[in-house]
């Protein structure tokens, strides 16, 4: 096991966000998996469900490794975590390259899904607590930058992977070569993070407006205690509801906008629908840095009131008037997606406010299980209801009215859960070193 790398005197905290970004921009590639699906299906004779397996397993492993690996990340530090993420994520591609070359699809599932998925989970939480410690005055902005990188990773990988497949060819040799180049390139790219990441010394970081909290300053709660508090579960519900509402639109964006305006005088073309999806990605990414930074000014509870309350209002506007105005539909969807991204990026700072910095990375990892459930729940609600409405003879915006009603209900549940969040009771706090020593002395006396 390694000890966390402590920053030398004069180390700038502005070296930490690029370290975090080098990891998050890489692992964000996961959301561009769909680029590999059509060539894999034709080269290895797979159907759509089979070709989605590596991605689905990777997301499951992301949640599991973040939840179960969080304590290890806290113990061994961010450099260890980033190294594990680098090795797993890159190895996943290399194993997949072998699988594509030998036409052994199970190797791609194992490599990209299982091994690479561990890299996703450990990589996702690796810089979170370090960033919060370096930016005690702006934790929302700091984690927002990193988590925006996860959204940005797909923006880079999607055109890059597509161009690579065009050059190498869509047969199994071409796919294998593309996987190989991905694995090696991401290994080099992520190395920057491994080299640059440092935990702050105990003195004031250069350029900060306030002193960083030491591991025992203020309210500090261990990960084990945190999961026994109602606050953790309230936040779990908040995150799950917010993500479900966002994924509900994101997952079905292109057919949704087409259906909404199918009967209008200006129906939406396929390329315009693709443009809408791209715009949603931009809103998702902008929300991560924009809303998360705003939370440093107006407070975490207030920003979640906006995400959940205004989010519900936006869904209501789409349900009532969305099919009569394309700009209104697009605007509301963009706001909802910006709240979706903002919800992801703000939650580490919310956890820090409630549980302190002591084991915030591990607590964040456990909270990400809410994402795993939402990832299943959101698409399931929208797709299942739309299919049944279609069977019932409905069409256009009527396919989504019930889904939007459910989304509003879920956001209201999340809003109530956010209102129930209170400061953590003192019995869950980790005692400060001096208090712990006093207790020990009293017990031994």
């Amino acid at each position: 096991m390694s000890s966390p790398p402590v920053a030398p005197p004069g180390w700038s905290r502005w070296l930490v966000p690029p370290a975090a970004l080098s990891v998050h921009l890489s692992i964000g590639q996961a959301y561009a998996w769909s680029v590999f699906k059509p060539p894999l299906e034709s080269a290895l004779n797979l159907d759509g469900t089979q070709s989605a397996l590596p991605f689905q397993l990777a997301i499951v492993m992301l949640g599991l490794s973040a939840a179960f690996g969080g304590t290890l990340v806290e113990r061994n530090g961010p450099r260890w975590a980033m190294t594990v993420a680098l090795v797993c994520f890159s190895s996943g591609f290399l194993i997949s390259a072998l699988g594509a070359e030998t036409k052994q699809y199970w190797l791609i599932v194992l490599g990209y899904g299982f091994v690479g998925g561990i890299g996703l989970g450990i990589g996702y939480i690796s810089p979170v607590s370090t960033l919060i410690k370096w930016f005690p005055d702006r934790p929302g902005m700091a984690t927002g930058i990193a988590i925006m990188g996860f959204g940005g990773g797909a923006l880079i990988a999607s055109p890059w992977s597509a161009q690579m497949l065009d050059s190498f060819g869509g047969d199994n040799d071409g796919i294998a070569l593309a996987f190989l180049v991905h694995g090696l390139s991401y290994a080099v790219f992520m190395t920057l993070g491994v080299f640059l990441i440092r935990v702050p010394r105990t003195e004031v970081p250069q350029g900060t407006r306030s002193a960083p909290p030491s591991a025992f300053e203020g309210v500090q709660v261990s990960a084990r205690s945190a999961v026994r508090t109602p606050q953790f579960w309230c936040l779990w519900i908040v995150l799950c509801m917010n993500v479900t509402a966002g994924i509900g639109i994101l997952e079905k964006a292109a057919p949704m906008i087409t259906d909404f305006f199918a009967d209008s005088s200006t129906p939406v073309s396929v390329s315009a629908a693709a443009g809408f999806v791209a715009l949603l990605s931009a809103a998702n990414m902008a929300g991560r840095i924009g809303w998360s930074s705003t939370s440093d000014l107006i407070g975490r509870k207030n920003i979640y009131r906006v995400y959940l309350g205004v989010g519900a209002l936006m869904y209501l506007l789409i349900a009532l008037f969305g099919d009569s105005s394309k700009p209104l539909f697009v605007l509301c969807a963009l706001v909802i997606l910006s709240f979706y991204g903002g919800g992801f990026a703000t939650v580490p700072a919310y956890l820090k406010d409630l549980f302190g910095t002591y084991q915030v990375g591990a607590i964040h990892g456990r909270l990400l299980t809410a994402w795993s459930l939402a990832g299943v729940l959101g698409p399931l609600i929208v797709n299942w209801i739309a299919d049944h409405q279609k069977d019932a003879g409905k069409h256009g915006s009527a396919l989504y009215t019930l889904s939007f009603g459910i989304m509003i209900g879920l956001l209201v549940v999340g809003f109530v859960a956010n209102e129930l969040v209170r400061p953590v009771h003192a019995r869950h706090h980790v005692p400060a070193p001096r208090e712990a020593a006093d207790v020990e002395r009293q017990q031994s006396a």
């Binding site: 180390w11 690029p18 990188g149 940005g152 923006l155 920057l192 999806v277 931009a282």
Partner: protein, 42 residues
Amino acid sequence: MSNDSSPPDRRRLIAFAWIWVGAPFAYGVYELVQKATQLFNG
């Protein structure tokens, strides 16, 4: 007069690190903008 104990200047390292992550990110944003304009043109 220079102080031997002063910490090294990290500005070049900071610039390099931000370009390292900024360049591919800018490429991704450029591709995104190209695609997003289809909503208004398509």
